[in-house]
Subunit: 352 residues, 2 copies
DNA sequence: CTGAAAGCGCTTACAG
DNA sequence: CTGAAAGCGCTTACAG
């Protein structure tokens, strides 16, 4: 209809080829940097392309069998400092290598996770990093419905040539970067026991997360190893957020007013605990010690500065991307991270 | 060669059409929800599609003229709380509407910004949100090279039908969400003047950012309106980070040891200032007051809790996405945000 | 309402 | 090293 389209369409590879006086095939080879073109011709084509402002159509490329230059990243919540740091690490690597990152949030909803993976597959993303805890299996049987669905989805993704690495999630037959949750929990508990604490309470995140389970296991092991009875330690669960931490602290302290230490299973919860305790006039660490987990950037600037376990979050993101870029191994790879106890001002010996 | 490909290829729309006993065209209409199919046929096709696990190939769709279901988001740094909150807002909206988000970091490098936009255009992204300050024009001429390049890129993007909204950036002929930087700066300054401060210093971010310029302008206006001489106020520049804030504070305090208030132009810098001052044994706010800007999540949990200007960051992300989803107006739209002074513990009257 | 056919912009065997 | 041609998996006029 319209002789002159109102929206000028961008130049295509044919336009480049014509302008450079070569065939489409040659132009394609020159632009993708593949072999089979003389260096001079390639250089000439590239010069022409940049002169006329040619930008390859990635959809046509992907459809024709070229590589998809996008990697997928699934996190629970980009605003959370833990995932923010991981995302920063992944993005940094991603961009170095000329990929673009497709990011999704799932807010810890297993069904949203499945939906996101499917959406990513619709975009033929072959490289995928999933950060965030997995879910504890139902006690009664092998696996919950959500678990089984996820495992099936993952199997079908990798069977179709997809590469997936998870961060902080086991139970999935793929490459994994595993933060040192259990060992970190144990280190933290030894620190508190060494200080003299015996009556302590735990602020757990959602009880169905394996991360919570693992950190608890570490605490329990070290507590038992000191000859103490873990059954004396109250654990209350709440959201892995500042608000969740404050609410859980309220419940914990009302039921057990005599605790000398509160162990939060991530930093935002610990910040919530500090806020609740300080507002209530409790002195930290004078009357009660508080610890976190992760060493998010906020940990060193809160009052009092938080004793916590440092995990190399941005590095974990980078590692996951490295795994995904590598061809699959015979069996899933596991990269265990280090952890480091960071002692700051929020812990001290209990008062006699 | 291989009779049985080792990687099973996913079902295509033809497979769905065949299994449902309809033509390709009908299957396509049923799957995209377009008109021209009877409701029964559409339902049947959809049922078949889901039974055989069909996932549409988004590249083929995009190439054939369907919609690209991705939106681009460009930020300076996802790990920074300001951009983390904005990203959270954009992603939330994005996912509600069934889009996927392509996120890029530019680390405040104008050339990286250009490269990212081009990469996004290669993916035929039509919807784009760019968050982060623009750059101050060179004093000598109309615009710097980077500025001109960006304006040209943006014009060409929108001319080709692309929709772009910026957050916190003027000087670009597109829809914009503009945080209340100047007014916020003025509010903050009035707060400090009201408290009795006269000798204050400013911790500016990179001097080439319009955000810095605008916040400074607000401070200056309110200072002048109180009959005070702005030339008496030292301004030192540094990175918009905790480290940048600490370093700038060191320079500021060495040159002007008698200041009674330090005004940081974003929260991370203020946190750095607190850290430097407290480490040096200064009492905040007893000896010296400190203020931030943005009200990032960290602001209320640092010691002492930060007096700052609250900007609705997640809401700004949502608004930008709304703008981009709307057809373009005759002239660029401007959405000015509100701001709110949040008085916490880091400010007090100066000592007599 | 339904179908046959063209075409979106590339890449990659296949020939030369 | 270079080119002509097929094909990737869809959508959308164009006919019926």
């Amino acid at each position: 209809m319209a002789e002159r389209p109102s929206v000028p369409s961008p130049p295509r590879l044919v336009d480049v080829a014509r302008a450079a006086g070569v065939s489409l095939a040659t132009a394609s080879r020159a632009m993708t940097g593949s072999t089979g073109v003389s260096a001079e011709v390639a250089a000439h084509v590239q010069a022409v392309a940049s002169r006329i402002g040619y930008v390859p159509n990635s959809h046509a490329r992907a459809l024709a069998g070229g590589q998809v230059s996008m990697v997928g990243l699934i996190v629970h919540d980009v605003g959370d400092p833990y995932f923010g740091e991981i995302a920063r690490g992944v993005l940094h690597e991603t961009e170095l290598r000329g990929y673009l990152a497709l990011i999704s949030q799932t807010q810890r909803d297993p069904r949203a996770e499945l939906a996101r993976i499917r959406a990513l597959r619709a975009h033929r993303v072959r490289l995928l990093v999933m950060a965030g805890s997995g879910y504890v299996r139902a006690a009664s049987q092998g696996s919950t419905g959500a678990d089984a669905d996820m495992a099936a989805e993952v199997r079908s993704f990798t069977a179709a040539g997809g590469r997936l690495a998870v961060i902080g999630r086991h139970h999935l037959p793929v490459d994994a970067v595993l933060p040192d949750n259990a060992a970190g929990g144990a280190t933290l508990m030894r620190h508190l026991i060494g200080l003299g604490h015996r009556r302590l309470g735990v602020l757990g995140g959602p009880p169905n997360l394996t991360t919570v389970e693992d950190r608890l296991a570490g605490l329990r092991t070290a507590f038992g190893a000191a000859g103490l009875d873990w059954r004396s330690v109250p654990v209350v669960h709440g959201d892995f957020t500042r608000e969740g931490g404050a609410a859980a602290t309220a419940r914990l302290m009302r039921a057990h007013p005599d605790l000398t230490a509160v162990v939060a299973l991530n930093d935002p919860m610990a910040v919530g605990a500090l806020s609740w305790l300080l507002n209530g006039g409790r002195r930290v660490p004078g009357e009660i010690s508080v610890t976190g987990f992760d060493d998010a950037p906020v940990a060193r600037d809160v009052y009092p500065a938080l004793t916590t376990i440092r995990l190399p979050m941005a590095g974990m993101g980078k590692q996951a991307l490295d795994l995904v870029l590598r061809p699959p191994a015979g069996r899933p790879r596991r990269r265990r991270t280090s952890h480091e106890l960071v002692v700051r001002a929020s812990t001290a010996a209990p008062r006699a």
